[in-house]
């Protein structure tokens, strides 16, 4: 399993370098405008597609058929992608959070407990979103292949936004962020459930795949 994740990290090296350049550029932008929320959202958004990129690279090299001739189980193949994304999302959330704090302090704004809490919350929500995005899309990719799943992935991103927009236009009373705060305490549990469900669906699909 460690070998599989190492392989992905080597392959994503260039994208990770791009991520570092991006986060530096965005930090400067945030410093100039004072808007740090975008820094958090964009950095985690960029990182959230890394596991999917790694599957594109694997497809190009016809890696899976080769990897399964090694002492590697299909379960490990699937699990390695989730662990990779968990690691990358964690790193990007922490990096973005740290940069946001740095930008705030450089701007001379006062950093109190509430600022730290706000930034941590933003980082945490971005982290959650990236893993939910992966959990929805990875089973689709295993089922339909990266090429065919692209359109569906576009759908999984924009259909929920569209529904919320339409409901809002129709005058449906949507819960405010304040109302959702209660959910925050439950979120680690919910995320765990979503991940377990997604991993088991992905594995079920991948287990039956003929190479």
């Amino acid at each position: 399993m460690k070998g599989l994740i190492l392989k992905d990290i080597y392959n994503l090296r260039r994208s990770l370098n791009t991520f570092i350049i991006f986060i530096l550029a965005y930090s400067i932008f945030s410093y100039a405008t004072g808007n740090i929320a975008m820094l958090m959202v964009m950095s985690v958004f960029l990182m959230s597609s890394m596991a999917i990129s790694s599957i594109v690279y694997d497809d190009l090299a016809k890696w899976d058929i080769y990897a399964l001739t090694m002492p590697v189980t299909r379960r490990q193949m699937v699990l390695s992608k989730y662990i990779l994304q968990l690691l990358l999302s964690l790193i990007s959330a922490l990096t973005a959070g740290f940069c946001a704090l740095l930008v705030t302090s450089l701007r001379g704004d006062l950093i109190g407990l509430s600022t730290i809490l706000d930034i941590s919350l933003d980082a945490y929500i971005a982290f959650l979103a990236s893993l939910v995005y992966l959990s929805v899309n990875l089973p689709l990719i295993y089922k339909f292949g990266v090429e065919h799943a692209r359109l569906l992935m576009f759908g999984t991103l924009f259909i929920p936004i569209g529904i919320i927009y339409i409901l809002d236009k129709m005058g449906v009373n949507l819960p405010s962020l304040e109302d959702l705060k209660g959910l925050l305490y439950l979120s680690p549990l919910l995320l765990g459930l979503v991940l377990i469900l997604s991993i088991s669906i992905s594995y079920r699909i991948y287990r039956g795949k003929e190479m």
């Binding site: 599989l4 190492l6 090296r13 694997d58 090299a61 016809k62 001739t69 090694m70």
Partner: protein, 286 residues
């Protein structure tokens, strides 16, 4: 002689293509050539051995153990080269070692770098800069560096020039010096198998034509070159296949030794693997 690989009545039904009840054994210390035209079922057999696809019948034992029940532990003892390099273009050969070290328990880094040296493969270049020959050599180095007992090669020499091919065949002959090991080598380059194979397993249209030692095979088949009139005199039972040309007929005959006496006034040549394949597949039958 103990078998490293035993296949019995192996069946896979793809609908439009069926691998039909194929059985053969690969003994220790031997190189087996798996031959057949493209689409005959060679790769299907290799995929079934490696549990990459599901079989519809039969059994496969590797080192005396069922290949599905003991997957993936069995794979510690198997080295595989598929027809191409399956390492990502952006990796370097040093990184391949770091990855493999974390996959195989018995990965021997020193041995791997010894092979890289011998194959003159640069450690610091990306694989995308490698030629096709270099990529195959890298795959072979990777397949050998965890010291497998069984090497499975799917068309490893196709598309390579004769010099690289010979170099690679030498490596396989070296590997087999240890009598505990064996190689299963699928190819349609029959001259490569003429050089190194001890056993030949011949697959055609998903069925097994024969699986026997190369010596036995060469001893069994012969070619008679004769005129059309003479051809009529050959016992139909003795003919595997024949080809007509402007000079007369070429006939692949079975039971060469016995038939040498029967057709003693005729010219009977030895048949090589390519002849045997061609007459079986393309030769006219009675």
């Amino acid at each position: 002689m103990e078998n490293i690989l035993t296949i019995e009545n192996l069946t896979k039904d793809y609908g439009e293509f069926i691998l039909k009840e194929v059985s053969f054994q690969l003994p220790k210390g031997c190189i087996m050539g798996l031959v057949g035209e493209n689409g005959a079922g060679k790769t299907t057999i290799i995929k079934l051995i490696l549990n990459l696809i599901k079989k519809d019948g039969g059994s496969i034992q590797i080192f005396g153990l069922d290949n599905i029940e003991n997957d993936p532990a069995l794979k510690e003892g198997i080295g595989v080269v598929l027809g191409e390099s399956n390492f990502h273009d952006n990796l370097k050969s040093t990184e391949v070692s770091k990855i493999m070290k974390n996959i195989y328990n018995k990965w021997d880094e020193a041995l791997y770098f010894k092979y890289l040296n011998r194959f003159k493969l640069p450690a610091d270049k990306k694989i995308k800069e490698f030629s096709k020959g270099m990529k195959i050599k890298l795959s072979i180095a990777a397949a050998l560096s965890h010291k497998p007992q069984l090497l499975i090669l799917d068309e490893p020499t196709s598309g390579l020039d004769p010099i690289v091919r010979n170099e690679i065949l030498d490596i396989f002959l070296e590997f087999i010096q240890d009598e505990e090991r064996a190689i299963l080598f699928s190819s349609h380059i029959t001259s490569d198998l003429d050089k190194i194979a001890d056993y030949i397993t011949f697959i055609h249209n998903g069925g097994l034509i024969f699986s026997q030692s190369k010596e036995e095979m060469l001893d069994y088949y012969g070619i008679i070159k004769c005129g059309t009139d003479q051809f009529q005199l050959i016992d139909k039972e003795d003919i595997v296949g024949y080809r007509r040309n402007s000079f007369g007929c070429e006939v692949l005959i079975r039971n060469k030794r016995e038939n040498r006496l029967k057709y003693r006034d005729w010219v009977m040549d030895d048949a090589n693997l390519e002849d045997i394949m061609l007459f079986h597949i393309r030769g006219e039958k009675n």
